[in-house]
């Protein structure tokens, strides 16, 4: 392999027919380029989808109340279903597999939020402490709500960084009191959110405090829970169980699809995971197909080369070339052409992706296209294998050339 003379022999023969070597290489380079661009784009798409899920825990089930739409046990449709703290407790206690669970209660009407004369309008969510795991809330200063806040009806608030910026500017916020509809709440922490800026314009209050302070009684608007490491099938069973429990508690038909809305994000996520897997397989099939076409091209051209060089091979054999050395000559030429061309394709493909990532407009669904190093190395290894494969048949034919036949004067 590292026989310098052999390489010089090969380079000499490639130089013999530059155009042909170029055309051969081109098909391989094109194949690899396609593979890289396709894989990179697939990656960008996957990143984009991942991005869509950045805000909420993907292993979660969301339950919202609605209005009944079909008659049930003599009751008319159109009744509003109202969840209460009890629903939360029953689900938390009776449904097996619940990891984190939180309810949400939204105080009615627009609430004015102010601090020392600065006022703003912010989204107020009153929740349980587990909420931070469901929304991927990242505490940046202080702390999030805890169980004592709930139990003792504390007037505390965790505020988003944008709320802090709006009300406090550069002044420290933690420990200060903000005013919500005339009621002072102590700021216990600041947070960022993967979900972006709008998620940082929120204020979280303990649900018990909010229900009391803003005339909520024991009502909750919705609750959501995570399912830990449970399998998809188990989470579907949990969804069904929740549906049955709530239907019974609120006296509506389990088949009523508008009384309660239950979203199992596990299912959505699984669907996207499957979609991504599908795209990856598709990309590989296309890419491998293109490379295979290149390989067949190389093989064909090497075949022609061998045929054209039959006489030369005969002469070499008469001068003492062994079948092995002829085999190596052709095989190595094939590997060289494929590897060099493939490498060029690889580099061009990566460059194209880079350029594309820079030139294309920002999109939520297409983020950071590119391929990683192991993949690039795998592709390179693939190329050497492909080159060997492409050269095998022609090389064997070359090795079998009979000197008498080759040297016959036409």
């Amino acid at each position: 392999m590292f026989d310098l003379d052999r390489w010089q022999e090969i380079l000499a023969t490639i130089r013999q027919n530059k155009l042909r070597a170029f055309l051969t290489g081109f098909s391989v380079a094109w194949g690899i380029l396609m593979l890289v661009v396709l894989m990179g784009s697939g990656e960008g798409l996957a990143n984009g989808i991942q991005h869509q899920f950045r805000d909420d825990a993907v292993n979660s089930i969301w339950v919202r109340s609605g209005q009944t739409s079909i008659p049930h046990k003599g009751l008319q449709p159109g009744r509003t279903v109202r969840f209460t703290n009890e629903d939360h407790e029953v689900v938390a206690r009776d449904i097996d597999g619940v990891e984190y669970i939180t309810s949400r209660f939204y105080p009615r009407g627009e609430l004015a939020v102010s601090y020392k004369g600065e006022t703003g309008s912010y989204d107020i969510r009153s929740v349980h402490p587990d909420h931070q795991y469901l929304e991927n809330t990242l505490v940046s200063k202080g702390r999030f709500l805890n169980d004592l806040d709930i139990a003792e009806y504390r007037k505390v608030a965790a505020i988003g960084e944008r709320v802090k910026d709006g009300l406090f500017g550069d002044a420290p916020a933690v420990g200060e009191y903000i005013n919500i509809n005339g009621i002072p709440f102590r700021v216990i922490g600041l947070f960022r959110d993967e979900g972006g800026e709008s998620e940082e314009e929120k204020i979280y209050l303990p649900i018990s405090t909010a229900q009391k302070a803003f005339a909520g009684g024991n009502r909750i608007r919705m609750f959501m829970l995570t399912t830990g490491e449970e399998e998809l099938a188990k989470t579907e069973a949990m969804t069904e169980e929740i549906k049955q429990t709530l239907a019974q508690r609120h006296n509506y038909s389990p088949d009523d699809r508008r009384a309660v809305f239950i979203n199992n994000l596990n299912e959505f996520f699984q669907r996207f995971v499957n979609l991504m897997a599908g795209i990856r397989i598709f990309v590989w099939i296309i890419g491998i197909g293109t490379i295979l076409a290149g390989v067949v091209g190389v093989s064909n051209i090497m075949m022609i080369v061998v045929k054209e060089r039959t006489k030369e091979i005969g002469v070499r054999k008469a001068l003492g070339a062994t079948p092995g050395s002829i085999l190596g000559l052709v095989l190595q030429e094939s590997v060289l052409i494929t590897a060099v061309a493939g490498y060029v394709g690889l580099v061009l493909g990566v460059a194209l992706l880079e350029a594309g990532g820079r030139v294309l407009p920002e999109s939520e669904f297409f983020i950071n296209p590119g391929i990683d190093l192991p993949l690039a190395l795998a592709a390179t290894a693939l190329l050497v294998v492909a080159g060997t494969l492409a050269g095998t048949v022609p090389a064997l034919r070359a090795a079998r050339v009979q000197p008498v036949e080759a040297l016959k004067d036409e």
Partner: protein, 245 residues
């Protein structure tokens, strides 16, 4: 040096078997210069190819330098060709994209001699055929006679025991032919056995012994005692214009 005993060879063409060599018995001693003559199709090339281990024979025995050459693997055959034999062909068979020097050096490549060393040796052999000035030229830039001299230098570079030449002057004009034979004669004087196939009497007359092949059988042999006779210039039937140098 070369010994054939009852060697038979036939080709199968479609349904028919063509018996080409019919029980050849032949012995050529080391240092001899022998020519093989005979009508076209009588089996001269086939015989030379068997001697050159370029082709197989069906039965009988062939000993080359006391080695039985029979049923060899291709790799083994390549080894003997490289070590013991040198070939000169009617159509020169130089590799067109290699310079004269690289062509001459090629057999040493298959002996794994380093590039530097084999190029140096190749230059010596080009000198022997008076072509040092043409070392860097491609075969296409040389006349027929020059190409054949390059081919002879190539056949000699491994210091083979036997040179086999199939109509080495077949594509050359008579003047050039004589020069080529003179070179082969000189090689032979240094001890190398030379076997050549030719149509031309003035060429065969310059060899020690002439073997007449007729329809796959050795007819008569004729010994030219007293070494080479003075060459008589004249156009042989096969002589073509190859361009003198």
């Amino acid at each position: 040096m070369l010994r054939l005993e009852k060697v038979n060879k036939s080709y199968t063409v479609g349904q028919n078997r063509l018996h080409v060599l019919k029980g050849i018995d032949l012995e050529i001693d080391g240092g001899e210069m022998v020519s093989i003559m005979g009508p076209s199709g009588s089996g001269k090339s086939t015989l030379l190819n068997v001697l050159g281990i370029l082709d197989r024979y069906d039965d009988g025995e062939y000993h080359l330098a006391d080695t039985l050459i029979k049923g060899l693997s291709e790799t083994r055959a390549a080894y003997y060709r490289n070590q013991l034999l040198g070939f000169v062909f009617q159509s020169f068979n130089l590799i067109p994209f290699k310079t004269a020097l690289e062509n001459v050096a090629l057999p040493l490549y298959y002996q794994k001699v380093s590039r530097r060393k084999r190029n140096r040796i190749a230059m010596e052999y080009l000198d022997k055929v008076n072509l040092v000035d043409w070392a860097g030229h491609l075969p296409g830039e040389l006349s027929g006679g020059q190409q054949q001299r390059v081919a002879i230098a190539r056949s000699l570079i491994t210091r083979p025991k036997v040179i086999l030449a199939d109509e080495p002057t077949g594509a050359l004009d008579s003047q050039t032919s004589l020069e080529v034979i003179e070179i082969l004669r000189a090689v032979n004087r240094e001890g190398t056995t030379v076997v050549l196939v030719t149509h031309e009497h003035d060429i065969s007359e310059m060899t020690d012994r002439v073997i007449h092949l007729l329809d796959g059988v050795i007819g008569h042999e004729q010994t030219n005692g007293g070494g080479p006779k003075p060459a008589v210039a004249g156009d042989g039937p096969e002589a073509r214009a190859g361009g003198g140098d």
